[in-house]
Point group: C5
Chain length 93, copies 5
């Protein structure tokens, strides 16, 4: 699981039926201090995230299917939580 | 899940039977701005993608088997969607 | 599975229900000599770890669900053990 | 799934019983143009590959067990196909 | 699956019960020529490996549970085999 920023939305006509009616975002992994890593992933939204949100991304086998009421779905990465703030201690690594 | 460009096709005579009659592509992960990452993966086509298409690649345990009507298949990476366009906001990270 | 230091806590109101009432931490992978890698992950606490602890992080399909008594949960990374010390031999690589 | 070259064979007396009588190779991931990546994996042969072959490596939960008639096996990476050639288009990325 | 050298042992009092009575090692991935990669993982011993051994590390869902007679275990990385030697051909990549 990792922190990421929702940066773009993917529009696609030809796709696996499990993706119908769902928001497919490009998410950019970020460090807690806001720096972005030099990569971007694709994730399906589950909690109503929007462009610009900092979120927790992840997944586990079978979860996407259960959430969306599907039998089997090629969905590995979900947006699971919207991050409000990140607490840390003074002696941080 | 990640964005990738379909760049080559893999031709193979000796292979696991689950691969018979399917298109095996080399896909090159790309960033949304089109820059390509310095790596390439192998993916099986599910939606009719062709050379040059920008696609969403991914997979989940059991999905490849279900899609292709197989009992068990050593297929981890599928081409799931063809990307038409990518929307973004002005204040992007 | 990998060694990591617990560095921050993630606070989130909008989230998957499996995350309710659990501590969500940012963990920074570290080498045994204490050097930190240039990345950070998100992990759920299972054993009562706190900020500053060196821990073992990992997971396996179904474990998070079993531990927390959930049906299905998008939880891939757990804090599994708090590290007390690391023994090594003189001829280490 | 990825392209790799079979470069070495691993000889091991003390091992998990699922590895008995099988060929364990070191495989070096390669790009389609032949350049090798700076890493090497360990894979079990399923299709009769030999040293020097370019192959497709991959795996999926349960497949190794099914192929080899085992109940459970700590085998994640299989050699799935021997590559004969790789077709590409002129406008490649 | 990958080659690694067993370099350190992790000592931990507070941990998931699946780890009780088992040896938890730090393993350092190595290339076949002996060069070490700049990372280290945590693995559970299954075959009696000791500090300094070159081993094959890996895992698969459900295997750790089966091996150790557990119901569910957050164990993803096992030491599967001790490497005696590595054969290669002259025209190696």
């Amino acid at each position: 699981m990792y922190l990421a920023k929702v940066t773009k939305r993917v529009v696609s006509v030809v796709k696996h039926e499990a993706y119908n009616g769902k928001k497919v975002y490009v998410v950019k992994p970020v460090l807690p201090d806001g720096r972005a890593l030099e990569t971007e992933h694709v994730a399906l939204d589950y909690i109503g995230a929007g462009l610009g949100d900092i979120v927790v991304c992840g997944g586990a086998p079978g979860v996407a299917q259960s959430i969306f009421g599907l039998d089997l779905a090629p969905i590995r990465t979900l947006i699971i939580a919207i991050v409000d703030k990140i607490d840390y201690n003074e002696n941080e690594l």
